[in-house]
Amino acid sequence: MMSYRLQRLPAASPAVAFAARLVSVIAALATAGLILKLAGMEPLALGAKVISSTFGSSFGIADLALLFSPLLYCGLAVAIGMRVGVWNIGAEGQFNLGAFSAAGVGLFVAGPPVLILPLMVLAGMIGGALWILIPTLARAYAGVSELITTLLMNFVATLLVYFVATGPWLDSSGMALATTARLPVAIPEIWDIVHWGLPVALGLAVVLAIAFNYTKWGYEVRIGGSNPGNALYAGMPVRRHLIFVMLLSGALAGLGGVMEVAGTVHRLQGGISNNFGYIGIMVAVLARAAPLGVIVSALFMAVVLNGGIILQPQGLTTQTVLAVTGLILLYAAIGDEFARYRVLRTIQPQD
């Protein structure tokens, strides 16, 4: 008698885990394609169009880079939060605050760009950090879950940006509706319209990977994030690390906002965050909170988002794209679980 049964392994091997991720992404795209087919569209043709438009021209690649960069900042912000056991759902708001603070400096402080740009970066990072300060203190000192507090702060930040962009800071030239005037300084460009925001983000990913894996501090954060009781037992400053990493998370998302407003959009306008903060959560989860993994998952998400933009003239809405990203996350979670199983073939002796 031969029979098959499933065995659950304690941990998936890296190769199997990677293959499962790949299969789940393909399955998610296939599911989306099937639904598009049922809606009377040609999924293969649409896919081909996305690929040729994205990678077929330097415009396409530059657009992709401009989406890649904010996703990196937000993905890193969420990922380092996860390292310390925190779900920063507020990257969206911190991104907005970063953009707001940088735009404020850019619009109202006069001076040479060499002085103003660092000031904008500093202001944006402080703005992002301030925006997570209350959730941080509530979590560190009162044990209040940061899930809700960081989420709620998003709405305030988004509305604040809408308010100043259409009210007090509205472009007085009358040339533009619902935005501020063009910022007098900009993040320098390195190639085409791609600015320094992208290489800085890539550099930060590497620095963070080193900090978390190759420093004593990173070890302490790892223990404290995984089991605070264990860290206290070993006499580690759990609260100090929690506060620092949460503020750093806010500052990173804020920096993303600075790069967006001063490098890509050049004006502060409502909706500048463009859901990057929320998609950053997906980026971080897909990367399993590894900073270098964020590079891969952010690039992938950028392709998906860019595909959505390309397909808008074909009658696809941004909601469709968000639905696809949701599918990918769902399938990845399922794939992660399946990766831990293997099929055993057992042969039972005949009586």
Binding site: A11, K216, S226, N227, Y233, A234
Partner: protein, 526 residues
Amino acid sequence: MVSIADPMGTVSIQSRLGLAPGTPPLVALRGVAKYFPGVIANEDVDLAIYPGEIHALLGENGAGKSTLMNILTGIYQADAGEILRDGETAEFSSPIDAIAAGIGMVHQHFKLVNAFTVAENVHLGWSQTPARISARTLEARTQKLSQDLGLTVNASARVSDLSTGEQQRVEILRVLARDAKVLILDEPTAVLTPAEARELFVALRAFTARGNAVIFISHKLDEVVEISNRVTILRGGRKVATEWTESCTEKSLAQMMVGREIVLNNLRERPKGATIGAPVLSLKDVSLKSHGAMLLKNVSLDLHAGEVLGIAGVAGNGQRELSHMLTGLAVPSSGQVHLDGVDVSMSGARAMAEAGVGHIPEDRLHAGMSPALSITDNTVLREYADAPLAQGPWYIPRQALHLAQEIAKLAEVMVPDFAMPARNLSGGNQQRLVARREMRIADKVLIAAYPSRGLDVGAINTMMHYFVELRDRGVAVILISEELEELVNLADRIAVMFHGEIMGIVPGEGVDIEDIGLMMGGRRNT
């Protein structure tokens, strides 16, 4: 069972309880067994509860009291044996069945909704609660129940505003309102003041006088003697005896509770040159207060180099706080902790570890390890900041792996993959790794809290030999344990804790187990 008052066993239980001959027990367990993976929780337990009696259930932690009561209240189903209700077999597949059969339990930790009133709590989840309710009808019904059952409660009060004694009364009212005939109380006096306890006893006697019965779980010997008619002693999941309480003394109960077959294996023999030295770690009149409760009360201890000091006592009597005090995890409310004559009361856990105090904590998975992290991360917890694992601010994973491999080898734990989460290791292997990790830093003192909890005999044996090894090196060892066997075999002195106090310290050599049992039950050694 032969008792002193009735040497021939001719007088029936029924007649001694004033019942008609042949009255069946309200509820009885016959040959009940319950097995968990690798553990016998209960085996071959008989228990009969007759109308009108208060039946004490006595036993140490882990003796199987809770499992037995969970079977009786339908939370667990027995793997063998049967339950009889009024002489007929009954099957309790859920707590609802048990409640319908008139068996109710008040747990040690109350299960009330704090934000609700007393009336709302009494009526919550009760089939007889009227469909249309108003606060007034609920309160009137509660008031009536309270009068009928002789349990005074304020029906409109919010539970969060009540004292623990009052909350307990609400719990009991809740159970009795559902027509319970058998009331099970789990350590009911642990949370009560002496005055509240007396009130409770009066209410219990009134309840049994109406032909009902109480099962009273406790490890306090004086109470058992005071309140119960009969007492059943459990040990290691089995019934030791059922006795008429009037024929027992605190001493005889203590003996039955703890006096198992102690395997004597004296580990106190030392090699030449290994002697007990000067005090290294001392507690000087240390008290710890938290939220108004005295968790430690004027504890003074001297721990000498090269000695094993055992701490006995029923878990939850201040042992955890004591271990925290000795390892810098807690700061005394008053008094001082001295290490080598220096006051270290405020030094904190890291400084104590660096000064050579190792700590095997009681909850491995919550304090001792990070189960989701790799075996390497967990094994190097005490040395990640020292060379060669660290250089300046840097942490060197390659060196960490070397150290982890070295510790695993010493601990004789086979690790297929050091990057694997530590939770995949068995409890015994986790404990070996933690113990070896702590032994490496324990130059002066090792505090081991319940090191053998959840381990099999082989692993426990290894653990004991680790302690011997340290002791012979001149390290002072504190062994907190509920296994008297370990303490008797290994400890040079045994201190017994009860309600945050030390009841007495006795030499381990030739110790009288009964003395320990009495001190565990709150008798001070004079």
